[in-house]
């Protein structure tokens, strides 16, 4: 349960309208005006310093932790230094667009048009990318097979080494940076690192002085004054010293994460394995005599803080990632570096806190392995049953191997955590460009059919031709991704973040220049479920039964099933041929074959940081816009209809054999290849999970999931009637949280299309 204090904080999250905030953009511009001609990395460091010195600090009368990204919670921070263009185009749309609306004052709009936009025009990351992205890649993007991401925003999708910050303290880290800078005076990264760390220390001290000043004011109640003085003491200590207990640790993690947000303004600067690195500080607090109730309240404060930051996306991007996912991914459980169960009391507590806060962030994940304690699994099931879509579950039995196969050491692989939605990363050691592009495999199929009006001699020839198209576009996609990779190096290095990602300090290089130990680029193959369903129909109806000719089929697709008698064919294709997700080997294996082919294509390519491309398979909410780009397909899909959700999930409404059959289908994929992460949605009706029996059955389902070698699964547990009611009466369901894809969001804040998609996902009910 929330306490009086944390109830106040939760209410305050939603008491302001969400608005666009120009403060950071303005401060960045002010700094850039002073640093013209200096190396980019120093300009970035100095700009960060200016933001940390000047942005407005806000204090409330309740919180035990301080640190505000913006003056009002959940404000949208624009980054014109990454791309000023889309913001200009969409200034008037922020309050009314279909997804992720924000208020914006006329004064701010004018300031943006007249000051910020002209300043950043021509010198943003997006400009660099457009100048350096090959023409062929741009043209290919027009074919809508792929779109390179992060060409207009920070890269994010990374977990800094918070453990290092806590155990060494910022003072010690500053000394190391200083020593390295002294030893290598020509190295701009070290000079930038010194600026960044000393600014972060000063930033913590700014909060300390604001807190002390408040404590000295006459209108503060004595009890609150004591709290403020205690908070000031914590801030004074963690400015330079290692954390002593849980309060120190949470305060430092939060302020460091904020400083990193001020630097990058990116989605998913994630929290990593918090039950692991907080454990010694939790034990210290317990040892000091801090009560369970106090610990719980402190953690509640931290969880609520994670909801104060939302990520403002362009309208197009918001359609792919609707509902402001910020990516405070927090992982509990899993194995330690020796492969033994690593769970502790905090693992249980950090799951249980969701029943107090009931908000979308932090985005909780449970790592499951064969020795996950039964109690922890049951605890996770009880939280899943609440219906908030968390924790999502990751499977050590496949994810560790997925990384070792990519050359990650076994110890580092066992320490994996999650960024973004479902992307796998190694905390503090990997800069993985995990969300750099999605690849629409179904679009490749459509292009292939269009390029071959003459048809094919046999089914194998058709498959080979589709694979030819895929190879062609993969080659183009990686060139686009690499241009974006280099754009971040050239225009937007992140020296503060790099200090907390090994081995940047050892190598003397920012992560954008290859400083990290592991440097993959992750690209997601999407649409295999629809492709497999389509090919299964063609294999039988066209090639074997010869029930319909290839040209007739193409004509029908071209007219989107609108011809006389087409609907009977469409129904026949939908109903009379096996579909992926029903545990039918033939069609499941088509899906497996194409996902494997995609993975093998992707992993051949290198990126400029010395890493390799690696495949993933998740869609977030992109199956809706990606589906819009593809015409009718032989699986009975209409033109523009969504693709299968998730990444690994069957097409909506086509999995009719229950949730064990769908897991079985997914298990036939070569899941270990998807080292960038993959996503499976399963929806249960609440009635399926009632009582202790429901918990036992969900636990068993998760154990089976682990044994079947599937990477990820997440659950929506909410009945259709509730969702439909929330669509018609949003005012009654302001607190309804649902799983979108790798993250949860408030249902009423989602666009209609995404809402419909969630409603239509097959509900397993008994």
């Amino acid at each position: 349960m929330l306490t009086e204090r944390t109830k106040h904080i939760k209410e305050s999250l939603f008491s302001h309208p969400r608005r666009v905030d120009l403060e950071r953009a303005t401060l960045l511009m002010e700094s850039y005006r002073q640093t013209d001609g200096e190396p980019v990395i120093l300009r970035r460091a100095k700009a960060l310093r200016h933001v940390l010195e000047c942005h407005r600090i806000v204090l409330d009368d309740y919180d035990l932790l301080v640190g505000n990204r913006t003056a009002t919670p959940r404000a949208g921070v624009v980054s014109p230094e990454m791309s000023p263009y889309w913001i200009l185009d969409e200034l008037d749309d922020f309050p009314t667009r279909p997804q992720d609306t924000f208020e914006m004052s006329e004064g701010d709009k004018r300031f943006y048009r007249e000051v910020l936009y002209p300043f950043w025009k021509g010198r943003s990351l997006n400009d660099w990318y457009n100048e350096h992205c090959p023409k062929e890649v741009k043209a290919a993007e027009g074919d809508k097979v792929f779109a390179v991401a992060q060409t207009d925003k920070g890269q994010g999708h990374i977990i800094p080494d918070y453990e290092m910050a806590l155990s060494r303290g910022l003072g010690d880290i500053l000394e190391e940076c200083q020593a390295r800078a002294n030893a290598h005076p020509q190295n701009d990264f070290y000079r930038a690192a010194v600026i960044c760390i000393s600014s972060t220390i000063a930033y913590v001290r700014r909060y300390e002085s604001v807190v002390r000043e408040r404590a000295s004011q006459g209108d503060v109640a004595p009890a609150r004054r004591d709290e403020l003085l205690r908070m000031a003491e914590v801030l004074s200590h963690v400015a330079t010293e290692p954390a002593r207990d849980l309060h120190d640790a949470l305060q430092l993690v939060w302020l460091l994460s904020l400083a990193l947000q001020h630097e990058s303004n990116a989605s998913s600067i994630s929290l990593g394995r918090m039950d692991q690195y907080l454990w010694p500080y939790y034990q210290a607090s317990v040892g000091e005599g801090v009560t369970d109730a106090q610990i719980r309240e402190l953690l509640q404060c931290f969880y609520l803080k994670c909801n104060t930051v939302v990520f403002l996306r362009s309208t197009a991007s918001a359609e792919f990632f609707g509902g402001f996912p910020t990516g405070y991914n927090l992982v509990v459980g899993g194995v330690n570096e020796r492969g033994e169960d690593a769970s502790n009391q905090l693992s249980y507590l950090m799951l249980d806190l969701q029943s107090d806060t009931r908000l979308p962030q932090p985005n909780l994940s449970l790592r499951i392995h064969r020795d996950t304690p039964r109690g922890l699994l049951e605890q996770a099931c009880r939280i899943i049953r609440l219906g908030d879509g968390v924790p999502q579950c990751f499977n050590d039995e496949v994810n560790v191997e997925a990384f070792t196969r990519r050359g990650v050491s076994i110890e580092d692989a066992r320490d994996y955590a999650v960024v973004g939605c479902v992307e796998l990363s190694v905390p503090g050691r990997m800069y993985g460009l995990h969300d750099i592009s999605m690849f629409n495999i179904l679009k490749c199929f459509e292009i292939c059919l269009r390029e071959h009006p003459e048809g094919f001699d046999d089914f194998q020839a058709l498959e080979a031709a589709i694979q030819g198209v895929m190879s062609r576009y993969v080659a183009l996609m990686v060139r686009g991704c690499n241009a974006c990779d280099l754009a971040h190096r050239a225009v937007a290095p992140t020296p503060l973040l790099s200090v907390f990602v090994h081995d940047s300090l050892e190598k003397g290089a920012d992560i954008t220049s290859g400083g990290a130990r592991y440097n993959p680029s992750g690209v997601q193959g999407v649409g295999t479920a629809n492709l497999a369903d389509s090919l299964e129909v063609m294999k039988h109806a066209v090639f074997e039964e010869k029930a319909i000719s290839y040209p007739e089929l193409l004509a029908m697709l071209a007219r989107d099933w609108r011809g006389d008698g087409d609907e009977a064919w469409r129904q026949r294709f939908v109903n009379r041929y096996p579909k992926y997700g029903n545990d039918v080997d033939e069609v499941d294996e088509i899906s497996a074959r194409f996902l494997r082919f995609y993975g093998e294509q992707v992993e051949r390519y290198e990126n400029p940081r010395g890493g390799h491309f690696q495949p993933g398979s998740y869609t977030v909410s992109a199956h809706i816009p990606l589906g819009r780009a593809v015409g009718a397909t032989p699986d009975g899909r209409r033109a523009g209809e969504q693709l299968a959700d998730g990444g690994l999930s069957p097409m909506v409404g086509r999995d009719k054999s229950g949730p064990t059959a769908s897991l079985s289908s997914v298990s036939k994929l070569d899941n270990v290849l998807d080292s960038n992460g993959s996503l499976l949605n399963v929806k249960f009706s609440p009635s399926t999970l009632v009582g202790e029996g429901g918990i036992q059955k969900l636990s068993a389902y998760l154990r089976a999931f682990s044994r079947l070698g599937i990477q990820h699964v997440q659950f929506n547990v909410v009945d259709r009637a509730t969702l439909l009611d929330a669509q018609s009466h949003p005012e009654r369901h302001q607190d309804l949280i649902v799983r979108v894809a790798g993250y949860s969001a408030m249902f009423v804040e989602l666009a209609r299309g995404v809402q419909d998609d969630i409603i239509n996902r097959t509900e397993h009910v008994l």
Binding site: S657, K697, S699, A700, Y701
Partner: protein, 298 residues
């Protein structure tokens, strides 16, 4: 709303047909289970929720809402009027129910969920229809034996009110018997459902004497089984027999639409479903008699 019953041309040596294999069943004998629904039942409970499993013969059924009128005008569509064969119907509106139940083939299907059974202490349940009816019995025995050979937990859901010549064969391959307790009064039961409770009890006694595990299943149907006296009488029988577990099954209407598809009259159409709160008295009565109760089954 039409139906046609094809002549039983089934050539299976055992004669059994099935209509559905339901994976991830979670109220039918413990854990996560696969339930095989056999076709055909000698009894006629007015509240039956699986009316497609009453006839022993294959049936062409008609799911009117699925029809897209691909072959004729809307007003003449129907299972008999439609010229398409069920296998040519694009939507499945016209469907032939009743597939020859081959033990080896069905074993292949149920084995696909072995991991789920192992993790949940689940297994396989044969239901119906009446899976122990003469036409179904030899399949059931053979199939359960095959499941047992693979180490699977097995259950049957049955009235037990059928002649069983060699109950030891059945007991040897069945981990749990889920046995109906419906109308307790013999005369009333024979009149309304055709079930002879005394035959059930005779079978039960023999099975229990062989050490069989039995869970009673008591559907709570207003107007038929829900009255206190009937519940009391059922409980007394259970206690006399030494049964300690009962599933209380509140009346539901999930079978309503199926009557339309088969073109059968449904006496309980439109009657309100019962919730857990509506069966509280029944649960208390059972618990008061020392029975362990699970509402909806486990």
């Amino acid at each position: 709303m039409t139906s046609s019953t094809a002549p039983n041309t089934c050539c299976s040596p055992n004669g059994a047909l099935y209509t559905n294999i339901q994976r991830f069943s979670i109220h039918d004998g413990g854990g996560i289970r696969t339930v095989v629904f056999l076709k055909g039942c000698p009894f006629r409970c007015p509240w039956c929720c699986n009316p497609e499993n009453l006839s022993f013969a294959p049936q062409t059924v008609w799911h009117a809402p699925k029809c897209i009128h691909c072959s004729m005008a809307q007003d003449v569509c129907g299972a008999d009027a439609c010229p398409r064969r069920p296998e040519d119907c694009p939507t499945g509106a016209k469907e032939l129910l009743g597939t020859v139940a081959d033990p080896g083939e069905l074993l292949g299907v149920v084995m696909r969920d072995r991991v789920f059974y192992e993790e949940s202490n689940g297994g396989v349940t044969v239901s119906g229809g009446e899976c122990l009816a003469r036409q179904n019995l030899s399949f059931t025995l053979e199939f359960l034996a095959a499941c047992r050979k693979e180490g699977l937990d097995t259950a049957v859901e049955t009235t037990l009110a059928v002649p069983i010549d060699r109950p030891e064969l059945l007991a040897a391959v069945t981990s749990t018997f889920l046995v109906d307790f419906k109308i307790a009064d013999r005369g009333q039961s024979l009149r309304v459902t055709g079930i002879d409770p005394s035959l059930r009890d005779k079978n039960l006694e023999r099975l229990l004497s062989m050490g069989a595990r039995v869970v009673a299943r008591m559907p709570v149907i207003p107007g038929f089984t829900a009255d206190a006296a009937n519940v009391r009488a059922n409980i007394d029988y259970m206690r006399d027999l030494g049964i300690s577990r009962v599933d209380v099954l509140p009346f539901h209407q999930m079978g309503e639409a199926k009557y339309d598809s088969i073109g059968m009259r449904y006496e309980l159409r439109g009657r309100p479903q019962l919730g857990e709160g509506d069966v509280r008295d029944v649960v208390s009565a059972c618990e008061g008699a020392g029975l362990r109760v699970v509402v909806h089954g486990e």
